[in-house]
Amino acid sequence: MCAVTQGQRGKTMNLIKQKLTELDPDLLFAVILSLCVFSFFAFSNPLFFTLNAGFSIMERFAVLGLVGLALTLCIIAGEIDLSIGSNAALSAVIVVRLTDSMGAFPAIGIGVLCATLIGLAQGYLIAYLKVRAIVLTVGTLMLLRGVALFAADEKTVMLTDFRMTDFIQEKIWIFFSPASLLVILLFIIVGVFIKYTKYGREIYAIGGARKEAIASGVNLKRPMMIVFALSGFCAGMGGAIIGLRSGTAQPLALQYLLLAATVAAFIGGVNILGGKGSVIGAAVGVLTVNFLNTGLVYNVTPSYVVQIYLGVLLLIVIVFQTLSILYDKGKQRRLLLHDTALTKQKMIDAYKSVLK
């Protein structure tokens, strides 16, 4: 009797151990960090733990989630889209301007379409002219700002009828709104796409091992254009949501999105060298940043202090990643040395048996 239960316990322990080792340490770190941040704010400020706060968090998630997802994909593919903030601002301007004349949905459609085409164009240039994304998006960051300024006539664009867009903020199931639900759906779709289709795998391939991917026959252009088109789409959608939610659009706004989304992406386990990361990680990272943001706002912290926190958080994550890369290298070296010792032993044994 005792032997059987002990055996079973042993088996489950082994199973748990096996599952734990299979877990991605970066994702684990992200989840733990996210829980820490949440608990910190929940304990220090009773207001944080309310349903309203939850709704507020999800609302932020809607926008930052999109941008974080887009940036995560870019970094997985080994590139980065610095122009995402400007693209979003442009989209916001377009959507807000057009809503008065043609209603919310067509306006959203046009805004998102523009942003996606812009992203597609950037992807095309990066793939065909072999320009590095870092370099190109520095320029397009500025270019799109100019276009946004132009489209907004240098002003802050506003809706005439704010009620037209109230539906975006309707509460559904306490925490959610049409916006956040849409974004969650998008996360699921993109997650499935990345994991289960050939195109998704190609994105991972060109990230971490670009030379090998090309040598394997992967056409660089397709995944690159997909990634940047998606990035444009997310930027467009995010801008549309922000624009309609507040009813205004400033052509020079939304630059903070880049830092916040980058922090979110890195918390979520993305690696600057590419090839690593996940949609779930992105979601966790975005939530963490949202907890931080909302928590600080509830603690009446000015936005520039929030930036300090974000910057520090980013550097912590970078340091953690660098350390874990070093640790990995050390582990590989030990494996190598262990292997050589084994080989040596095998040879000695082989000779001993021959000599006998």
């Binding site: 500025m142 270019l143 929030v306 910057g311």
Partner: protein, 339 residues
């Protein structure tokens, strides 16, 4: 042959050698742009006046000085810093605090410089140890700006006129603004350092091939630290000069609305890239950066005189950056390695 004819034929010969088969397209585009530019320049009233030219160069000075500092970072193969305007923001606050508390120019300047040097060293260490420059400086930017706003409570700091730094802010030497002269001096010194000193040579070598640099005894870590310090120090100087001009400082002076041409950091990066410095490092010069600064300023000036609003100006600078990136990428596509 007269001297003029001789030099003309020599330059023509040199020029002809530069136009290789690959360069032809890039060169043609350059020629088209130059012609368009010259046309508009002549067509716009007052554009080519001495006063206007001085204005152009003066407007280019602040961005140009920062660009000169950034050039070191780019040439060494460390891409660029996204924290330039935030370093400037912090420096300007420290400087203004010093000035408004009557510490005088020297102390205030030292204070601002030291902060900038520290910030640069910090980022340089992280980058040299293997951190990606974009990410590291993105994070540092948030921290620097936050500290700047926090220290100054996001208020404007004034210091009375006349003050110790008048010579820098509004002063003139022989009819040329001191700021412009500083720009020229910085450019000359920087170019000399790059061409003639051991450090400058190391910058080029490590930028051209980091692995080969390592194999010949030149590691990236000291390079990253030194170049980041130089870039940050230049930001500090530019900030000080601007503060002297305005006799005040606020943390957001360098934010979105600076110079009506948009994001200062992007503008500085633009001055480095527009004239052809290689983003991968190892090729280029401060001369190119200075030309880039002047060119951007000239274009902006042209548009102002023609009556364009800020949207168009931001757009055109952005367009210039993108086009120059594409042109140089196309022209150099053969001599670059993949990925």
């Amino acid at each position: 042959m007269s001297a003029l004819e001789y030099s003309a034929s020599m330059s023509a010969g040199w020029l002809a050698k530069k136009i290789t088969k690959e360069n032809r397209v890039g060169f043609a585009i350059l020629v088209v742009i130059s012609i368009a530019f010259i046309y508009f320049a002549i067509a716009t009233p007052n554009y080519l006046s001495v006063f206007n030219v001085k204005t152009i160069i003066r407007d280019a000075a602040i961005v140009g000085i920062m660009g000169i500092g950034l050039t070191f970072v780019t040439l060494s193969g460390n891409f660029f810093l996204l924290s330039m305007k935030e370093t400037a923001a912090l420096s300007i606050i420290v400087f203004a605090m010093g000035m408004s508390n009557d510490y005088g120019f020297i102390f205030s300047m030292l204070g601002a410089m030291s902060i900038a040097v520290l910030a640069g060293a910090f980022q340089g260490i992280l980058i040299g140890l293997g951190g990606n420059p974009i990410i590291v400086t993105l994070g540092a930017a948030g921290i620097l700006y936050g500290v700047a706003s926090w220290w100054s409570d996001n208020l404007v700091i004034f210091f009375k006129r006349p003050h110790d730094a008048e010579w820098l802010g509004t002063g003139m030497v022989l009819g040329v603004p001191t700021i412009t002269i500083s720009f020229v001096i910085f450019a000359i010194i920087a170019e000399l350092v790059l061409r003639k000193t051991r450090f400058g040579r190391q910058v080029y070598l490590v930028g051209a091939n980091r692995a080969a640099g390592k194999a010949t005894g030149h590691e990236n870590l000291p390079m990253a630290i030194k170049t980041c310090i130089i870039a940050s120090a230049c930001c500090a100087f530019a900030a000080i000069a601007f503060s002297a001009q305005m006799s005040s400082a606020q943390a957001n002076y360098f934010s979105s609305e600076f110079g009506s041409s948009g994001d200062l950091t992007i503008l500085v990066i633009a001055t480095v890239m527009v004239a052809g410095n290689s983003i991968m490092g190892g090729y280029g010069s401060v001369l190119r950066t200075s030309l880039g600064a002047v060119f951007i300023s000239a274009t902006d000036n042209l548009m102002v005189l023609q009556g364009f609003n800020s949207g168009a100006r931001v757009l055109s600078v952005g367009l210039m950056i993108v086009l120059s990136i594409l042109i140089f990428a196309y022209v150099r596509r053969d001599s670059r390695s993949e990925g």
